[in-house]
Amino acid sequence: MLDVILQAGASVLLDPLTLGLMGIGTLAGLLAGAIPGFTIAMGVILTLPFTFGMSPIQGLATMMGVFVGGLSGGLMSGMLTGIPGTPSSVATTFDGFPMVRSGKPGLALGLGLWSSFFGGMISAIILVALAPQLAFLGLEFGPWDYFALIVFALTITVSLSGDNMIKGLIAGCLGLFAACVGEDEINGVARFAFGSDHIRQGFAFLPVLIGLFAFSQLLSDVEDNVKAKSPLMAKTADPVRVEHRKAIALVIKNWINLCRSSFIGIFTGILPAAGGSISNILAYDQAKKAAKNRDEFGKGAVDGIIAPESANNATAGGALIMMMALGIPGDIVTAVMLGALMIHNIIPGPSFIQDEPLLAYGVFIAFFAAHFFMVGLQAFSLRLFLLVTRIPMYVLASVILAYCAIGVFALHNITFDIWVMFGFGVIGYFMRKLGFPLAPMILGVVLGKLAELNIARAIGTSDDYFLFITRPWSLFFILMAIVSVIFPFYQNANKDSLFSKLYVPICMMVLSLPLFLMGSPVRMMIAAILLLSGGYFVYKRTTRLQST
């Protein structure tokens, strides 16, 4: 094992080209994260075409740099101007901006930077420790379980991606359908090709993704004539000298908040679809609840910066755990990473870490190393960011649209791919305008083929359809899918209603059933704890309701 880690470390850390690419990637990520209107996912998607000519480890290391840089980039604009660069740094502005306004911009930036660094480091350690274990667990999965896991990934994406569930489900189905077009994986029969040889090959993942996400985003950005012509940010800021020593000391002093927020981030990242945009707010909320000086929150509290920034970087590690161990993307960014691996003919799954240990550990090490680059490049990227924000959006959008076309063409050297990108760009744009969330569609496109392959394998192996509910893991994921579908109703329900009071304990009791079926002592113990505590809460809450 140690020799594999050393070899993987050497392939990343001792190769100047890989290190250089990772540095460029981190800088690009820091900028993409900092510019409002640009997202980390967009940064990673736009980096992807550059990685075609690279080796898998170089490509993944570059994208890892963009990912980590992007997570930390959002804090610059959020703190200095009050406008968060990405959704994952929304909560950072709650205390970061007031701290900057109170005359401590260097400390605010330092706190954000070092919280991101330590949060990322904690999640990197958990990633290295947990991903191989989870992959072993994944080896227990049969096609029934995998299919149920994909269904769960899609339903939770839908339930977390917006307030209109029907539109989310429609978007997910459209994504699944897009993945059906072209030759099917099992029989090689053409589907929905309408006589076109190009469509017969199916839609390549990258043009669909760039179209749906980047193209449609750019069109939305230039929609408003006045906004399109004005500089990216109306408010500007001055270069700031980051107070590193004081910030490190404060982050270490508040280590309980750091660890709690990092674990919230990791857990949120492991959940499919729940990314940094959720974890930073959750961590901020928990930090506020746990703080002795709650009144200081919103006025520049140190804990109010540490919590969201450590959580959003830790989310990346959590999302990577799912992708590396089970081949299920945790969010849009890891969905793109998954696509990048597929372009290099690597399919992540439970056996990925065992089959491709050099690559898997290379990714882990790149994740570690990217955090050091992030710290090192923050000061430089801050100056660059202040320059970029003077450019009007229409200039940036026009150049990036052309770049998208060139990048997509580079995938297979065919013009049809650019047409596909354009088509999905138009679809994505109108979906945005009509209030359809894009995340379920993207996940549908990524997981569609995998879902079909697994259901076909399941049916091919046995014609007993009850296996979907009699196999413990499959039942577990199906129950989780049902729980996630009901979740939006729970969120909108009256807090004093019976449904709201009993939703969580009943979910705990229901989920204990498949864990009991798994048979192993540890899982049965967890099941018993879930059942007993669920039962206790049901009893306590119903008696309290009856008494009132």
């Binding site: 550059f50 075609f52 000519g53 029907i166 539109k167 489900l169 429609i170 189905c173 459209l174 699944l176 359908f177 059906c180 099917d184 099992i186 029989n187 029969v189 053409a190 589907r191 929905f192 309408f194 750019l218 069109l219 230039v222 929609e223 408003d224 004539n225 399109a228 012509k229 009007p392 229409y394 200039v395 959008a397 026009s398 150049v399 649209l401 052309a402 770049y403 076309a405 060139i406 063409f409 580079a410 050297n413 013009t415 650019i418 047409w419 354009f422 138009v426 744009y429 305008k433 009509l434 209030g435 879902a451 079909e452 259901i455 076909a456 049916i459 091919g460």
Partner: protein, 162 residues
């Protein structure tokens, strides 16, 4: 734009789309092998889509009726709102249609220059600025992909004749 009117139009459109695709699914060849047929999964997905679209149609129609709109013309759309997006679509279609003749280098420059000028304005100063931006940005990208990444970008008839 998201309101009950547009939701009704979209739901009807999606139902038509499902109808066409479900009909086309019957043309998918059956090779006669055991196991799941090639048309089974797409049919499941399309039926799910059709059910969801029907629910959306029903929901938005009921909402539309109960809201009591003054303007009952559901096809009235303000195209001016989408002017810039439509310019981008138009320029992109032009860029793709002329790619075989102009190639990626010239076509890209024309596309970026055209888009910048349509979106940014037509004053002399701006036109010069846009021309510079388009030549420098596309030239740089073309060089990175052609020489750095060794991608054979479309040359175009014009440059080939030259």
């Amino acid at each position: 734009m998201t309101n009950n009117k547009s939701d009704i139009i979209i739901a009807v459109f999606l139902l038509c789309f499902c109808g066409i695709m479900i009909n086309d699914a019957s043309n998918i060849r059956d090779l006669g092998f055991e196991g799941m047929k090639a048309d089974a999964w797409p049919r499941v997905v399309l039926w799910m889509l059709a059910v969801m679209s029907s629910v959306m149609l029903g929901k938005s129609y009921i909402q539309f009726k109960t809201d009591g709109h003054k303007d009952n013309n559901i096809f009235k759309v303000n195209f001016l709102k989408f002017k810039n997006a439509l310019i981008c679509f138009g320029m992109f279609i032009f860029f793709l249609s002329t790619l075989d003749y102009l190639g990626m280098l010239l076509g890209g420059i024309v596309f970026v220059f055209g888009l910048l000028t349509f979106l940014g304005g037509f004053s002399i100063n701006l036109i010069i600025k846009h021309l510079m931006i388009s030549i420098l940005s596309i030239g740089f990208m073309w060089m990175v992909f052609t020489f750095g990444l060794r991608v054979m970008l479309p040359e175009g008839e014009i440059l080939r004749v030259w």
